[in-house]
Amino acid sequence: MRIEPEITGVLIELTPMERRLLSTLLVQYDEMVHDQLDDGDLAGDPALSRLFPNAYPDDDEAAAEFRRYTRDGLVERKSANSGLISAALTASSDEERLTVARDDAEHWLPALTDLRLVLAERLGIHQDDDPLPENELADVYEWLGELQWALIEALD
């Protein structure tokens, strides 16, 4: 992975393996955020409860109303954000560096965050000092963090 700021955006260089990894995660993520619309039962998956937090933890009625008015739009925008990364990966060959416009890169950030939120849930990270397990999934989690960190550096 190499990321460099450019005048109009960011240059992102990923290995073919990193590209496949990111694509796989994004496909699963997109399914996840859409699937929850079908049953609406987020309690079945704590990761979804983190992607769509309860805005009114002390007021069930207001919480339900907030959900009703925001959920579809949030799903749509979360899906669009992840779709931007997928599209950039699909539109370029494995060897090519990705030239991502500044505005697009801004939409990469929330999608990368959501991927990390889901992985953190799967890894059992709930508190600041929870240790990261030593496994492949944790490597992916850390890699996504590095990618996001480097993107922010390039954008700031």
Binding site: M1, M17, E18, R20, L21, T24, L25, Q28, Y29, M32, A43, G44, D45, P46, A47, S49, R50, L51, F52, P53, N54, A55, Y56, P57, D58, D60, A62, A63, F66, T70, L74, R77, K78, N81, E106, L109, P110, T113, D114, L115, R116, L117, L119, R122, I125, H126, Q127, D128, D129, E136, L137, D139, V140, W143, G145, W149, I152, E153, L155, D156
Partner: protein, 129 residues
């Protein structure tokens, strides 16, 4: 970087552990509606809620996942806070567990909260106490 030699296909799927139930942060569990005999009290609540002059706030809560630079970045780009102010709020979230990032009319605070959810930040709406 990552060892992706064996690409596990379903990384984001809930682990299928028989007999176990997912651990959900208390924050995310809707408590069952409490309909007490104090209907008068409920009415008061509703009344207060529609009053336009009562200020509301958007609160962002700490989480162990989001990078400090990301939280600062979001506060700067979304709210337009200066870098020092965005960093101050980010540190408050990190150290105190939460920070009030905006105050104002309820609808506006809900819009901010929705935006924070899009950014993957854990935000709630509350009346200014």
């Amino acid at each position: 970087m990552v060892v992706v030699a064996q690409l596990v296909e379903r990384w984001l799927v809930v682990p299928d552990v028989a007999g176990s139930s997912p651990v959900i942060h208390p924050m995310f569990v809707d408590s069952s509606p409490v309909l007490s005999s104090t209907d008068v009290e409920r009415d008061t609540t509703t009344e207060t809620r529609v009053m336009p002059d009562v200020p509301w706030q958007t609160i962002v809560w700490n989480d162990p996942v989001n990078l400090m630079t990301y939280v600062t970045h979001v506060f700067r780009t979304y709210f337009g806070y200066s870098k020092p102010e965005a960093e101050r709020l980010m540190l408050q979230v990190h150290n105190d567990g939460r920070a009030i990032v905006a105050t104002g009319p309820r609808e506006e605070m809900e819009r901010h909260t929705e935006a924070m959810h899009e950014y993957g930040l854990w935000a709630t709406v509350d009346r200014v106490s």
